[in-house]
């Protein structure tokens, strides 16, 4: 007979951190989580919900109540495949996929994420690569992700890489975007991460030549 263990299950209000909901609410459309009916359409629709520790519905419920630890540590947010089925069906108009992204950002920011799980590593490596060369190179991206998550997998997956390379689907040499545009890109990334757009002016791209990047992805054209 196994020993009976008693685990405290009460969740006290003082353990809750309601600011995590505020962070999600601050994202565009995020305020909709307040109108969640807890109907479970998202969980029913999600092709991956059966593998999740918390379904999207429960995540939103916990998020609203300030169960920060559980939400941010949840494995579910990394399983989201961004198929947007939940967003399409949600009767409360919640952009569930965007909520998942917001939670992923918070988790990365807080440094709480499954270290050897490929999705956060992929996201980080992708960004690093973009910051460096402005272009994505599949070969190096896959190599870096696999080295950091499952290096032994390289032993089994190299034949696939070889076949892709033979058909010209994988380039071993990375390319880089031209200098002035590269500087603009870095500035744009900087704006996205820290500052506001008004501080940053395009270097040699005059407004009439192309769309002007504004926060929130709005595009204005001067030469109407």
């Amino acid at each position: 007979m196994s020993r009976v263990s008693f685990v405290r299950k009460v969740k006290y209000e003082k353990e809750l951190q309601r600011d995590v909901a505020a962070e999600v609410i601050a994202t565009p459309g995020g305020e909709k989580i307040l109108s969640c009916l807890q109907c479970g359409t998202c969980g029913g629709a999600c092709p991956l919900s059966v593998y999740m520790d918390h379904t999207p519905r429960r995540l939103i419920g916990m998020l609203r109540e300030g169960f920060k630890q559980e939400v941010v540590e949840s494995f579910a947010i990394w399983l989201c495949a961004s198929c947007y089925e939940c967003t399409v069906l949600c009767p409360a108009g919640i952009k569930v996929t965007d909520v998942m992204y917001a939670l992923k950002r918070i988790a990365i920011h807080e440094g709480i994420y499954p270290r050897r799980f490929p999705i956060p590593v992929l996201a980080k490596e992708f960004m690093e690569m973009l910051k460096g060369t402005g272009r994505n190179n599949e070969f190096w991206l896959v190599l870096r992700v696999l080295l950091k998550t499952a290096p032994m997998k390289l032993l089994t997956s190299w034949p696939l890489g070889l076949r892709l390379w033979r058909r010209g689907r994988m380039c071993l040499i990375g390319s880089r975007i031209p200098k002035p545009a590269g500087a603009d890109l870095r500035r744009m990334l900087e704006v996205l991460e820290h500052g506001n757009a008004s501080d940053v002016k395009p270097s040699n791209v005059t407004p009439s030549q192309g769309p002007d990047l504004l926060p929130g992805g709005a595009v204005s054209r001067v030469n109407a």
Partner: protein, 663 residues
């Protein structure tokens, strides 16, 4: 000089706190003090509730003490208390039109966040009212007789109940129904919740009474095409579509249907929502009222090719009720009041393709299932699927088209209860395992919660979660050939796949497709969803913003049968109160024309929407018939020489009011 000759003007100003509704935003003391300094103001007070008896007594006492002859009350909307204070003014011995109401609640305190700005606005509005009331004149209300006939639009349970109530009180009723029979949606239902009364058993006696009641003039296959006039004196045009069978001659024996060249029904029957078949000549359903068949010209061979042997005409013989030459006719009615009972339509579930309605044959709407379980339905009450199988598992999906940002935001109010009823009936008739998928269970009615408990005890499964979709994609042999529902069971916290044979979509109630046109025809208000707007959501739930037109049933919003009947009774009582009073008092806001100023330009004659103005060729001036004038003010605005003037909206009054706000 003022509106009342030389009598000196003494104005009393009364500011209402309305509890904290006004006083919470507006500095009522400062407002009353500022009003005291305005020209002509003799007394200015503030009080907690001006509409209360002590508040009204203040006005009466002051009028006697100070000899007031103008009253200004700054309180709520004139919709609520203009009449109250007009009566108070009359009680104080003054003409009721020497009063003016300022709305500092809906227009100021409720719509403002800034107390200082709110007080300033209230001061400006009171100043305008004081300036305006100076020019007010003694006026007498006009009396117009009320025609005792009532028009009821729609022959569902709401229209039927209102018609019977009015007719039994001796009022002539015109009951206009678009379909070939009265009865509406209720006639299609099998049982009614929560008592499980048979819908037909309780409805058909009322339908028969409609036919037998001599005061009711029933018009089926008819639509209102034009409405003019005003409270007490509406003129209505009704289009009557041909039935091709003379209602006066037919006895409803049904032999013509037997003799039709089609031996079996071939065309989908509307009443059974296409689940049953009918012939080109048919009765909509056995208990139809009037019990007269009709011919559908789109499917009748005689209409298509004129080559039919016409067994129907032959068997009818000397009675000669069948008349292929009938055409659309228009009749004109004169009525005093109108009751709108146009009902609802069910939500079209094809708008939500994830539920597979129209794609998978065994996905039904709840209304279709009502016909399936009904003994007079297309399967004679046998619940069998389209392939003849008996279902072993049935899923009932709540909130289809309700509580959904993608379709309708509102709760349709009846779906929880009718889903419970269908769960009970389906379980009883098939022995199948029934699942209910709900977001929230809403059973707030008399005997409703008890019924829920009863269905729970029946062993019906209740799963709290909205089904995300219906699929036939089987993942295991047990799911082969089934409809699979994927749902998160939110109480158990697991995602489930549930195979069923039959899916019932509990579809929402929606406003009729042509509600917008009907609303325009009758000059009614309408909410964003298309429901007709009541005058006040709590205190005038059957009145509309058009005097003399009342609402009954689901045209005003989703509701169940008891509420519909109650509202229909209320609408009948409202209309009866107008009829029995015999007259309506109209606002004395009619226009008149100053002969000396009139240049005879004819502009007003052409503009008047009520043909109340004609041109006197001898005097060469326009002449206004006060009895026809509705006080719309069109002529006043159009007159280039300022000859057209209107009571309650005279130039001096309006200019003084504008000046009061601005200066």
């Amino acid at each position: 000089m003022n509106g009342n000759g030389n009598k000196s003007v003494k104005i009393g100003v009364y500011v209402c706190h309305c509890g904290t509704n006004i006083a919470g935003k507006v500095d009522v003391k400062a407002l009353a003090e500022s009003a005291a300094g305005l020209p002509g103001v003799v007394v200015s007070r503030e009080y907690k509730y001006m509409c209360s008896d002590p508040g009204q007594d203040l006005i009466v006492k002051d009028t006697k003490q100070f000899g007031l002859n103008r009253i200004v009350v700054a309180s709520c909307s004139p919709h609520l208390h203009e009449l109250t204070f007009r009566k108070t003014t009359a009680n104080a011995g003054e003409n009721p039109y020497l009063f003016h109401l300022v709305n500092i609640r809906e227009h100021v305190s409720w719509v403002s966040d800034d107390p200082a700005a709110a007080t300033e606005k209230a001061k400006a509005l009171v100043k305008a009212a004081v300036a305006r009331v100076f020019w007010h004149q003694e006026l007498q209300p006009r009396r117009v007789p009320v025609n005792p006939s009532v028009l009821i639009v729609g022959g569902g349970i709401a229209g039927i109940h209102a018609a019977l109530t009015l007719a039994s009180a001796g009022k002539p009723v015109y009951l206009v129904e678009r379909k070939p029979s009265i009865g509406g949606h209720m006639a299609q239902f099998d049982k009614t919740f929560p008592t499980l009364d048979c819908a037909a058993c309780i409805l058909t006696p009322k339908m028969t009474s409609v036919k037998q009641q001599p005061n009711i003039h029933l018009m089926t296959l008819a639509e209102v095409s034009e409405v003019s006039g005003f409270v007490g004196n509406f003129k209505v045009k009704v289009k009557r579509y041909p039935r091709y069978i003379d209602e006066a001659k037919c006895v409803g024996c049904g032999e013509c249907i037997e003799m039709c060249v089609y031996k079996e029904g071939k065309y989908p029957n509307d009443f059974d929502l296409g689940l049953g078949k009918r012939k080109p000549i048919y009765m909509p359903f056995p208990q139809a009222v009037p019990p007269v068949p009709l011919i559908d010209p789109a499917t009748c061979i005689e209409f298509k090719s004129h080559k039919c042997p016409k067994g129907c005409v032959e068997v009818c013989g000397d009675r000669d009720a069948i008349d292929f030459s009938q055409t659309v006719k228009e009749v004109e009615l004169e009525v005093g009041t109108i009751i709108m009972a146009t009902g609802f339509k069910t939500f079209e579930p094809r708008r939500l393709p994830q539920y597979g309605y129209g794609k998978f044959p065994n996905v039904y709407t709840s209304l279709e299932v009502e016909r399936l379980v009904n003994a007079s339905g297309p399967t004679l009450g046998q619940v069998v699927l389209r392939d003849g199988r008996r279902p072993e598992a049935i899923g009932i999906l709540h909130c289809i088209g309700s509580r959904d940002e993608n379709t309708n935001r509102y709760c349709s109010r009846v779906c929880c209860m009718y889903s419970l009823k269908l769960a009970h009936l389906l379980k009883e008739k098939t022995g199948a395992h029934v699942y209910n998928f709900y977001i929230d269970m809403r059973t707030p009615g008399k005997g409703f919660e008890e019924f829920y408990k009863r269905v729970l005890e029946d062993g019906v499964s209740f799963i709290r979660g909205k089904v995300a979709g219906v699929t036939t994609w089987a993942q295991s042999p047990a799911e082969e050939g089934k409809l699979i529902l994927r749902v998160e069971d939110t109480l158990l916290g697991v995602v489930r796949r549930i195979p069923v044979d039959m899916v019932v979509l509990s579809v929402a109630m929606e406003a009729q497709a042509d509600a917008e046109n009907v609303r325009r025809l009758f000059n009614l208000g309408c909410s964003a969803e298309g429901w007709f707007l009541e005058r006040h959501p709590k205190l005038a739930p059957v009145d509309t913003f058009t005097d003399g037109i009342f609402l009954a049933g689901c045209c005003q919003g989703p509701k169940d049968i008891p509420d519909t009947v109650a509202q229909a009774g209320a609408a009948a009582a409202q209309s009866m109160s107008l009829i029995d009073k015999g007259y309506v008092e109209m606002e004395p806001n009619t226009a008149w024309i100053e002969e000396e100023l009139c240049s005879g330009c004819h502009v007003c004659v052409a503009m008047c929407p009520y043909t109340a103005i004609h041109f006197d060729a001898d005097k060469k001036v326009a002449v206004l018939n006060e009895a026809l004038c509705k006080g719309c003010g069109t002529c006043v605005a159009a007159c280039p020489s300022g000859a057209a003037q209107q009571n309650l909206f005279r130039d001096e009054q309006l200019f003084a009011e504008v000046e009061g706000v601005l200066v």
